[in-house]
Amino acid sequence: MSSTPLVCAGLGRRFGTKWALAHIDLSVAPASVTLLAGANGSGKTTLLRIVAGLVRPTLGQVLVFGQDPRIATSYCRQRSSLVSHRGFLYPGLTALETLRLWSSLLTPDNGDNELLELLGSVGLGDEAHSDTSRFSAGMRKRLTLLRVRLENPDLVLLDEPFAALDPAGQVLIESWVGELKARGTTIIMASHAIERAKALCDSAVLLEQGQIAWMGEAAKMPTPGTDLEAQ
């Protein structure tokens, strides 16, 4: 039970008058890659934020490795990592300083040499001492990915990983996902780029207006917007 990365049962979340999510029953197998598909506002981000323990579910239960992220917050966050569409960066800090901050909040705390090496591995070696507020979207994303490298989690939650990236950046994400997968990390990916994401994923969940409209093998997923009842 506790080795299952994610179990949701009857999950629902209301914001004001609107139900962003309802009746979510979902189980994610270890070392799998799951695609969360759906239109804007279909509840993908809310679901990922609930799993990360940032949003409290209104109804139902969520278990991350057998623990409730609301109660065992620290445990769940140690084993999972969220890559949001925001970068979590401070304007004014350099790339190296940003990594230094993250690293000093984790164990083991890496020295500057390791951090510079990490920056080099994503092609940011020359930018180590530049202010992150001057970074392009792609550079910011690559820096954010290093965060996951530092955390070394068992469950990675990706929110729109391909958004605002150039083709080179998208290829980088693909190879990075492959790398994580090979290491046995479980991945849940919310994405608009259905075709690109499908190729990376084992299974898929299609959300429509906060509810699961379709669930199954990624390759067989219908294109969103088509008549699902006809399938």
Partner: protein, 232 residues
Amino acid sequence: MSRPGLARQSLAILGKDLALEWRNRARVVAVVLFGVLVLLLFSLAFGDKGTQVLQVTAGGCLVIALFLSSTLSLQESFRTEDHDDALEGLLLLPTEPASIFYGKALANTFFLVALAPVLIPVTTLIYQVSLGPTQVLQIAGLWLAAAAGLAAPGTLYAGLTTRLKSQDVLMPLLLFPLEVPVLLATVKAFGLVFDGDPMGQLSSWTQLIVAFDVIYWCLCGVLFRFVVEEAA
């Protein structure tokens, strides 16, 4: 897997906030100038009543200058956290909300203490009070205690009102009534340093401010997690 302790995490946050403040020196200078301006305005408002009045009001005006300047720096301390959801990033690492609080509150205390080397000399000049070396030390100690008492609830309330539509009004509205005990005690203590302390009451006022500090730092540290985490 063990995590770095509360103290180490707090120091990491403190270091980050100090680095950001250093990058943002121009703003820091502006806040200091604002403090000086407040002192100047008060001295203009009371100045025509004579030197005596200026000397008597010096302590109070100095504390009010500290309070008004603090709202500017406290709000800024959460604007950087909100800009790219960086605070959320810290929570996800995971960082204990309490260590984020203590790190930021220490940074805010540091910032408020940094106002002292400018505001205190300016006060002695325009309010025409003379300070001996011991009195300077006393004022510095009191200033530190007052800054700490202001920074802890200030950090909590700045975090609480960040992202709200009327943060600039709500934060002082919530913070200043809370700070009345610190305000009264500090004004009294400053007055005793400036005008002399024949009855030896200074130490009891200092103890009172320190007691407030302890209560605020404990209580706000406990409550901060509810302010930053919905799921807490």
